[in-house]
């Protein structure tokens, strides 16, 4: 993708290097989750986000929230560029949601996370389980539980109301617990409780 270069001041360049570039790892990991773990697409997405940030450096105020700003740019770039290209547009896994909603109707919306079951998981079960969540739920879990954004920041990044952030997180965490529990059972983790 050919990018038109916009010259910035030396002060802006320094601010870019010190305040924006350090978030490249977080952005890259977020991009991986958005692109279903395609490294090349993720690299392109991160580059695209930083190029846009360079273009709009005059809009960035020093001391404000560079990480949230970058994540918003990246999320919007993903929506604009990569969903159009995807052969199979992102779809919600309705089976998971229906299953969850049925559980919720029986008042079992909180699943007991038993660390004696999970403590011996040594592989990539968690990453795999997160990758299998519907993207709307995967996004909020990554933004909150991995990247540490607040509800308000997530609402701005994803462009949804704070109430929706809260409810999606609640559902996402319960879906994740359910998936991890199934992995544990599948791999024969024993119930150590007598």
């Amino acid at each position: 993708m050919e990018q038109q270069l916009h010259p910035i001041t030396a002060e802006q360049a320094l601010r870019f290097e010190k305040e924006l570039l350090p978030h490249a790892d977080s952005l890259f990991n977020f991009a991986m989750h958005l692109t279903n773990y395609k490294e090349e697409d993720s690299n392109d997405l991160v580059q695209d986000a930083y190029f846009k940030a360079l273009r709009f450096m005059d809009k960035y105020e020093a001391g404000t929230n560079p990480k949230a700003w970058l994540f918003t740019i990246l999320k919007n770039a993903f929506i604009n560029e990569y969903r159009k290209k995807a052969k199979q547009p992102t779809k919600v896994d309705f089976e998971d949601i229906i299953h969850y909603q049925q559980d919720d109707e029986h008042g079992a919306s909180h699943l007991d996370f038993r660390d004696d079951v999970f403590e011996n998981m040594m592989g990539d079960e968690v990453t795999k389980a997160i990758s299998e969540l519907p993207q709307e739920f995967r996004t909020v879990i990554i933004l909150c539980d991995i990247e540490g954004f607040s509800y308000e920041e997530i609402a701005l990044i994803v462009d949804i109301p704070i109430g929706t952030v809260r409810s999606r997180l609640h559902r996402a965490r319960n879906l994740l617990k359910e998936k991890l529990k199934r992995y544990a059972e599948q791999f024969g983790y024993k119930d150590k409780r007598s």
Partner: protein, 80 residues
């Protein structure tokens, strides 16, 4: 209110607390509840451990040096 509803309500408070989404008043009320009810503390501890577990076990990679270099190469400084 049924036991299940009480549990759900308590879990919601604990979850909001861990997300730093409670007001100072609500936090104070929850702390009082934790001090008086071991079950509440256990619930909080379990949920905290789950979140720590997820964060620790989620794969994180570094952006490649080539990516960082490609970004840096696009910086153009305007003449003074």
């Amino acid at each position: 209110m049924s036991l299940t509803n009480n549990h759900q309500e308590l879990f919601q408070k604990v979850s909001l607390y861990l997300d730093n989404a409670l007001s100072a008043e609500e936090q104070s009320a929850l702390m009082q509840e934790i001090n008086s009810d071991p079950h509440t503390l256990e619930l909080l501890s379990k949920e905290q451990r789950f979140r720590d577990f997820v964060k620790a076990r989620t794969e994180r990679r570094s952006a490649s040096p080539a990516l960082i270099q490609a970004i840096r190469e696009k910086i153009r400084i305007a003449p003074a």
